[in-house]
Amino acid sequence: MTVYLVRRLIQALFVVLAMSVIVFVGVFAIGDPVEILISPDADQLERERAVAALGLDLPLWHQYLVFLGNALQGDLGRSFVFNEPALKLILQRMPATLELAFGAMFISILVGLPLGLYAGLRPNSPASKTIMAGSILGFSLPTFWVGLMLIMVFAVQLGWLPSTGRGETCSVLGFLGVQPCGAGLQWSFLTVDGLAHMAMPALNLALFKISLVIRLTRAGVRETMLMDYVKFARAKGLSPARVTFVHVFKNILIPVVTVVGLELGSTIAFSVVTESVFAWPGMGKLIIDSINVLDRPVIVAYLMIIVLMFITINLIVDLTYSMLDPRVRLETKGA
C-alpha cells in the first residue's frame, strides 16, 4: 500500500510539473505579455527597462524556472486588475465555488441514485423510459441555457428565487492559521437567504451530474443483476429488497462513488459556466473575467490551482477506491 501510495504521489508530481510547463508556455510564450504589462504610451527605453525588470529578456527556460521558484513560495504573480496577489484573489473566491460544487454533487446523488436504481430494476416500465429520456436531456442541454431558463421561470416569471449573487453569508473561521480573507471563510449555505441564492445555481450545476449518476446506477444495476451471485442470492430465498439493496446496491456503490468523487473536479470546472450565468462570485467567474481582460497572472494562478486540485482529487479517489473494494485492496498490496 505504501509503495502504491508513493508511486502515485510521484506520478502526480510529474503531472503537476508537466502542466505547469504547459500553462507557463501557453500563457507567457504564445501571447506577448509586454503589450499587456506595459502601457502602449511608453517609449522604447521605458519598455526595455520594464522588460528587463520583469525578466522577459531571459531565455524561456530561465523564465520558467523563476516562475516555478516563485510558485513554490506561493507567489503566482499579482493581478493587473485588482493589484493583489493572484493566489489570494482565487483563495478568497474558493469557498463560494466549493459550496456550489458540493451542493450540486449532493443534489445529484440525492436525485440520481434512486432514479437510476428504479430505471435499472424496471428497465421496461414507462417511468424508467421517462427517466432515461430525461437523462438524455440532462446530458444534452447546455448548462448555461438551462441556467437562463431557470432564471426566466423562477426569478423573472414567478419571482420565487433571487437570480444572482450569493446572498447573505455567514462567516466561519478558516482552517487553522490559514485565513485567506481576513476574518474567516464566508459561506452561503449557512443562512436561509444564502440557501435561496444557492438553490438555482446548485441545481443548474447538478443537472449534468444527475444524468450521469442515473446512467451509471442504471447500467450498474442492469449489469449486476445478470451476475451469478445475484441469482445465487435469489436462490438463497432472500427477499427482493435484500437482494437489491445489499447484493446489487453495494456492488454499484463503488463505481458510483468513484465517479462522483472524480466528478468533483469537473463540477468545479463547470461551475465556470454556472457562476457566469448566476453572477455567483466564485473562482469560475473570476477566471472568465480575467480571460476577458487578459489578467494573465490570475489565469495562470487559476489554472495551476485547478490542476493541483484535480490531481489531488484523482489521488484521493484512487485511494478511496482501493479501500472500498476489497479486491483492489489486496491486489495493490503486491503491486
Partner: protein, 344 residues
C-alpha cells in the same frame, strides 16, 4: 422411475406421503426473444426420490441449466415456464406465488451454481452471505445464525471456520468457494439440491473430494439431488438415475447402470462413445458428428436426426418419449434395443 404414462397429461393420484421429493411433468420453459421463441425446455418429465441422485446430462445449450432454474422459479424474462407441473412434495411449484416460492428457495430447495468464482458476492463477507441465508428462513438471533454458519462450514470440510467467516470470497480458492456455496445450500438441510455442474470449474482432485462429500451428505441427510453435468463419468460414480437431454428434451432416462452400459438412444450411445477411457487407449476417439442445433429454428422431426447414424425416413416425424424396456424410456423410433435386451 415412473412409467411414461403421464406424458399423456393425466396426473395419477398419488398419496403425498409416497410421492417422490420432486416430480417434473411435461415442463416447458420458453424464451421469447426478438428473434423468436427458444424452446429451452420442452416437454421434460422426470422425478427424484428421497435421498436419491438424478444425473441430468447433456451438452451445453441442451436445457439442463434452464431446467434447474425452472424448478427454483428463477427463470428470468424473456424466459417463462409455459407449461407442465413441478411437483415438490406434492405442491405444484409452477402455480404457487413468488412469496411461497421464496419461502422454499434456499430453505427446502437449494441450488449450487456452476462457477464458484461467480456465485459469491465479491463485496460481502462470507459471514454476511451465510447469516442472511439463515435469517431469511428462520427466526433466530444473529449469534445463532452465525453458529449455524460455522457448523455448516465445518461440515463441508473448511478448516478454522471461525476465521474463514470473516473473509471475503476472493481470499478463497475455487474449491473452497464451492465448498462455501455448498455449505450455504446445506444451511437449512433442504429436501432437494439442484447442483448445476458444481465441479466442472474445479481441479480433478478437488472435484473428487467434493463429489464424495456431497454423496455422503445426501445419503446421511436424505436429501435428494439433481446433479446437472455434461460429464458422464461423474454421473457414473454419483447418480442413481440418469436423464439425458438433447435440444431441450429428455431423450433417454433410466437407472444409471442400465443407461450407461446399454444406451437405447443413439445420442446417449454417442456421448458414451466419446468419453476417453482407459479401456479404449490407442483407439481413435469417437465423436458425434455435427453441432447441437439452434433451439430457435428446430427442424421438425427428431432433433438428433441430422447427426444420427441410424436416422431413417421415420425420423422425419417427431418421436415421443416412450417406455422401450421395463423401467427404461427413450425418445427414439429406432432405439438400440438389441444389446440392451440381451443384457436384460
Amino acid at each position: 422411475m415412473r412409467a411414461g404414462r403421464d406424458a399423456a397429461g393425466f396426473p395419477e393420484f398419488l398419496p403425498v406421503t409416497n410421492a417422490p421429493t420432486l416430480e417434473v411433468r411435461n415442463l416447458r420453459t420458453h424464451f421469447f426473444t426478438r428473434a423468436g421463441v427458444v424452446k429451452a425446455v420442452d416437454d421434460v418429465s422426470f422425478s427424484v426420490e428421497r435421498g436419491k441422485v438424478l444425473g441430468l446430462v447433456g451438452e451445453s445449450g441442451s436445457g439442463k441449466t434452464v431446467t434447474g432454474f425452472s424448478i427454483l422459479g428463477l427463470v428470468d424474462p424473456p424466459g417463462r415456464v409455459t407449461g407442465g407441473q413441478i411437483l415438490f412434495q406434492g405442491r405444484d411449484l409452477a402455480k404457487i406465488s413468488e412469496e411461497e416460492m421464496r419461502d422454499l428457495r434456499g430453505n427446502r430447495i437449494a441450488m449450487i451454481f456452476q462457477d464458484p468464482m461467480m456465485t459469491l458476492n465479491p463485496v460481502l463477507r462470507i459471514d454476511t452471505q451465510m447469516i442472511e441465508t439463515v435469517l431469511a428462513h428462520k427466526k433466530v438471533s444473529r449469534e445463532e445464525a452465525r453458529q449455524r454458519a460455522r457448523d455448516t462450514l465445518g461440515m463441508v470440510g473448511i478448516p478454522s471456520p471461525d476465521e474463514r467467516l470473516k473473509s471475503y470470497p476472493h481470499q478463497f480458492s475455487g474449491g473452497m468457494r464451492q465448498r462455501v456455496a455448498i455449505a450455504i445450500a446445506l444451511l437449512h438441510e433442504p429436501e432437494l439440491i439442484v447442483a448445476d455442474e458444481p465441479t466442472t470449474a474445479l481441479d480433478v482432485t478437488i472435484q473428487g473430494q467434493i463429489l464424495a462429500e456431497v454423496q455422503k451428505l445426501a445419503q446421511t441427510t436424505g436429501t435428494s439431488l439433481i446433479w446437472i453435468t455434461h460429464d458422464l463419468s461423474v454421473v457414473a460414480g454419483l447418480a442413481d438415475d440418469v436423464a439425458v437431454m438433447y435440444a431441450g428434451r429428455i431423450v433417454e432416462k433410466g437407472a444409471v447402470s442400465d443407461v450407461l452400459d446399454h444406451p437405447l438412444h443413439p445420442y446417449t450411445a454417442g456421448l458414451i462413445g466419446s468419453v476417453p477411457s482407459r479401456n479404449k487407449r490407442g483407439e481413435p476417439l469417437r465423436q458425434i458428428p455435427g453441432m447441437t442445433p439452434s433451439l430457435l429454428n428446430l427442424p421438425p422431426g427428431c432433433a438428433f436426426r441430422s447427426r444420427c447414424p441410424r436416422a431413417a425416413e421415420a425420423c422425419m416425424a417427431e418421436p415421443e418419449i416412450r417406455e422401450i424396456l421395463p423401467g427404461r424410456e427413450a425418445r427414439c423410433f429406432l432405439p438400440l434395443t438389441a444389446a440392451a435386451e440381451q443384457a436384460a
